[in-house]
């Protein structure tokens, strides 16, 4: 177990290094001049040049790269080109905000999908199953920005029950978490249902039924327990998807998270900030996958014994 964790952590460092190098190359390969964007469209060249000098953008690429990587190794991700604040200071709180949004949404998505997916499999091809299937199909097909804006107008503007933007109270969490969580739950539910139908059709379930085990125990203990393996993997991958969706939800609900920051920083060619955002996004993703792998071992001890 420890070996696995250590190996994964080493992998994280290597992946981070490759990622930063890749982003650096990518940023210099695509057109767009950060100094020009800082100075504004109509700024004179002399001014743009002075910004290039001040921000070290006039240095040879290799020098820029080694200086940057050297700093990163010391835990310094540099200053944002636009706001001139340390990247870590900007990214840190934003990452936490995204984690709050994604965490609650994920929790909601998992609970809803496990419940609905299992019920759907239990009542396979009956009205309840059809209702759940309809819910998931609508959920999968409706983009977050549509449900989000409908929610804003209905609950925020008309009923005035819920605040629209920001994250200062629990009420602020309701709409973004519901929008993001339910959208994710829709996809998860389909997956849980399929795995459960498969598990409930196996021989040991028939045996359990023959022994007179209560149906609830069969479904939620034996069925779900055996269906859990592919579901865990799917949840793990789903979190990556969720982080992408968070960027959209953050824009609509004005949630000061990392996704929105990342999109803005790419559009303004703010290399240090983009690198910071993507780096921490990727690290989060790798970390979550490590946790998924550990959960996998817990769910199926055979893997740990291998």
């Amino acid at each position: 177990m420890l070996k696995l964790v250590l190996a994964r952590l080493a992998f994280m460092v290597a992946a981070g290094f490759v990622l930063l190098t890749f982003l650096f190359c990518l940023f210099h390969a695509i057109p767009g001049d950060p100094a020009r964007l800082i100075a504004g469209d109509s700024a004179p060249e002399a001014l743009v040049q002075s910004i290039r000098q001040a921000y070290g953008l006039d240095q040879p690429l290799l020098t820029q790269y080694t200086t940057y990587m050297g700093r990163v190794l010391h835990g310094d991700f540099g200053l944002s080109n636009f706001s001139r604040q340390p990247v870590l200071q900007i990214v840190g709180p934003r990452l936490l905000n995204t984690a709050k949004l994604a965490g609650w949404s994920m929790l909601l998505a998992m609970s809803v999908s496990l419940l609905l997916g299992s019920l759907s499999a239990m009542y396979w091809d009956r009205p309840l199953d059809r209702g759940v299937t309809a819910f998931s199909l609508v959920g999968i097909c409706t983009p977050i920005f549509v449900t989000g804006i409908l929610g804003i107008y209905f609950f925020g503007v008309h009923l005035r029950w819920l605040p629209i933007g920001g994250m200062s109270s629990w009420k602020h969490y309701v709409m973004p978490v519901l929008t993001l969580g339910l959208a994710q739950a829709a996809g998860f539910t389909r997956m849980v249902r399929a795995c459960m139908i498969d598990a409930l059709g196996r021989d040991f379930i028939t045996t359990a039924r023959a022994k007179g085990v209560p149906e609830r125990t069969i479904v939620f203990k034996h069925g779900l327990g055996n269906a859990l393996l592919p579901i865990i993997t799917f949840f793990g991958l789903g979190l990556g998807h969720m982080l992408g969706g968070a960027a959209v939800a953050e824009s609509i609900f004005n949630w000061p998270g990392l996704g929105r920051l990342m999109v803005d920083s790419i559009l303004t060619r703010d290399l240090p900030l983009t690198q910071g955002c993507i780096f921490f996004f990727a690290m989060t993703f790798i970390l979550v996958n490590l946790i998924v792998d550990l959960l996998y071992r817990w769910a199926d001890p055979r893997i740990a014994n291998d």
């Binding site: 695509i30 057109p31 767009g32 001049d33 020009r36 964007l37 800082i38 100075a39 504004g40 469209d41 109509s42 700024a43 004179p44 060249e45 002399a46 001014l47 743009v48 002075s50 910004i51 200053l79 636009f82 706001s83 001139r84 604040q85 900007i90 709180p93 934003r94 804006i149 804003i152 107008y153 925020g156 503007v157 005035r160 605040p163 629209i164 933007g165 920001g166 824009s251 609509i252 609900f253 004005n254 000061p256 929105r260 920051l261 803005d264 559009l267 303004t268 060619r269």
Partner: protein, 547 residues
């Protein structure tokens, strides 16, 4: 006839409603207290020297003031400076400063502080440095007297000093925390003191109890929430999460106007859309071809379809918008805009320049039979830029020119439009220009002058004309306002003949606010000044807003 009668009736109605508003405003006495919540946008630092966006100014102008300020009717009046005088050789401008003013950090505002800020701007090349053209140094002559020394006379300096980005920040705070420090905590002399800032979320200003203009401000605090998503912005205003939002989409205006609790106001901005014409490319070097392009575009059609009829104003003069110094209405009698749509005239001008449809394929060719094909570049940004570009493509194709429309991502577009004459690859490109200081100096010297060809200046057309250059230089140096205005008028008249760009409508600025907010100023540069703003608490309660 009927139409005009309707217009007259509408005008009377508007005038009477304006009258009633002003009477009400006079009757009502400002109330102290309350928090004003606004939406805003701060993409960069809030240090004035490194952020000249309207969104940035909206943030720091609450805390940071200028020597002089421009009123809504675009006259320059004293602010931190009490008065000023110009020397006989026109090379020294001396300001007398108001006394007894303190920065928010307790240090005194004096001549030394003013000199420090501008000398630092010159040395460190703050983003507004091109507006200080000709300024050599600033010298503190005494505690409250400061002189601006110029290398050559400049009539534009004083209006430019009213540009909100040239505000006087605290030198002590700057020395202690640098650009980075002021970038997240601006320290000035303004009516509000920065109290909290969370990047990408909000900024909170509290009342400056020691403010030098006695009795002001009325508000306890101003909270600016950063809301980039426009739909969210509008929804937050409608739900009462904020009291005021700017940048309202034109298509939301009718709905918001019908809400009794909201007031929508639209003012023409200082931003005019235009199509850059690369004057070096053949046959675009021929003024007749450039005029033909201008006549072929139906500007009224653009206002109607892209701006819902109300989001933009037809241009009345080349480059300058009403209210800019020296602006004169240059429309032909009976026309609603310059280069009013006239396809026949456009075709005729092209024919004079040697281009007509010789083989009936609806594309014009020159004498050698080569069809005229041009590249038009645009980006998906600004207020409807991409839609305007599509319409321009359509109009020019009706003139018989093949147009290849390319949409570039914003940053790529910006880089491609910043290249010099040799490297520039566009024939036409859709852009917008702003005259932030409401003075014509920048468009004259920096946008159309031969010396301002990219990359040195902002002349992307590579337009060069001895007459407009001469008039621009004369206007730049002329202290006599009458003479200067005449130079500006002649310059515009020459631009009309030369047609260096395709002139398009001026974008309007739209804000909407709750009716209990009074006396805030929405200025043409797109900035919002709440120094005199106040909130009618009873009315706010009646609207059910308890925030």
């Amino acid at each position: 006839m009927k139409y005009y009668a309707l217009m007259a009736a509408a005008a009377t109605l508007t005038a009477s409603s304006f009258l009633s508003i002003s009477v009400n405003a006079e009757d009502a006495k400002p109330q102290y207290g309350g928090e004003l919540a606004l939406t805003g946008q701060l993409d960069k630092t809030m240090f004035p020297g490194r952020n000249t966006d309207a969104g940035g100014m909206d943030v720091y102008l609450n805390a940071c003031e200028n020597l002089v300020e421009m009123t809504a009717d675009r006259t320059i009046k004293p602010a931190l400076a009490k008065s000023w005088s110009v020397s006989d050789d026109l090379k020294t401008i001396t300001f007398q400063l108001n006394e007894g003013i303190q920065f928010h950090d307790g240090t005194p505002f004096n001549a030394e502080a003013v000199a420090f800020v501008f000398n630092e701007a010159l040395a460190k090349k703050f983003l507004y440095v091109s507006l200080l053209e000709g300024l050599e140094k600033v010298v503190a002559d005494g505690e409250y007297q400061v002189s601006f020394k110029l290398t050559k006379p400049s009539a534009a300096l004083i209006p430019n000093l009213a540009y909100r980005t040239m505000c006087i920040f605290s030198p002590a705070a700057y020395k202690a925390t640098g650009e980075e420090g002021l970038g997240s905590k601006i320290v000035g002399t303004g009516p509000f003191v920065l109290s909290a800032f969370s990047k990408g979320e909000y900024v909170l200003f509290k009342r400056n109890d020691k403010y030098w203009q006695k009795g002001k401000p009325y508000l306890d605090s101003i909270r600016i929430l950063f809301v980039p998503e426009v739909t969210t912005r509008v929804a937050m205003l409608e739900s009462g999460d904020v009291d005021r939002a700017a940048g309202i989409p034109d298509f939301d205006i009718p709905r918001l106007s019908s809400d009794d609790n909201l007031k929508v106001s639209t003012i023409p901005s200082l931003q005019q859309n235009y199509v850059v014409i690369n004057n070096l490319k053949k046959p675009l070097d021929d003024p007749r071809v450039r005029q033909a392009l201008n006549y072929a575009v139906d500007k009224a059609g653009i206002v109607k379809s892209v701006f819902a009829g109300t989001g933009a104003t037809l241009s009345q003069a080349p480059t300058l918008t009403p209210g800019v110094f020296g602006f004169t209405d240059m429309r032909e009698p009976g026309k609603n805009t310059i280069f009013a749509f006239d396809l026949d005239k456009a075709k005729d001008l092209l024919k004079q320049a040697g281009y007509e449809d010789r083989n009936g394929d609806k594309v014009v060719e020159n004498a050698q039979g080569e069809p005229l094909s041009l590249k038009l570049w645009t980006r998906k940004a600004g207020k409807g830029e991409y839609q305007i570009a599509q319409l321009v493509q359509n109009f020019l194709e009706k003139l018989g020119i093949k147009i290849e429309l390319t949409v570039l991502e914003s940053a790529t577009f910006s880089a491609a439009l910043s290249l010099g004459p040799q490297e520039a690859k566009y024939d036409l490109a859709l852009l917008a220009w702003t005259i932030p200081t409401a003075d014509p100096d920048e468009p004259m010297m920096y946008m159309t002058h031969t010396k301002a060809w990219k990359p040195a200046g902002a002349n992307r057309m590579f337009f060069s004309n001895a007459e407009t250059d001469r008039l621009a230089e004369q206007a730049h140096a002329e202290p006599d306002t009458k003479k200067r205005a005449e130079y500006v008028r002649l310059w515009m008249a020459e631009l009309l003949k030369q047609a260096p760009v395709i002139y398009l409508p001026t974008v309007n600025l739209t804000e909407a606010y709750r009716t209990y907010v009074h006396d805030a100023k929405y200025l043409p540069a797109g900035t919002y000044d709440a120094t005199s703003a106040w909130i009618d608490k009873a009315a706010k309660g009646q609207q059910g807003i308890s925030r």
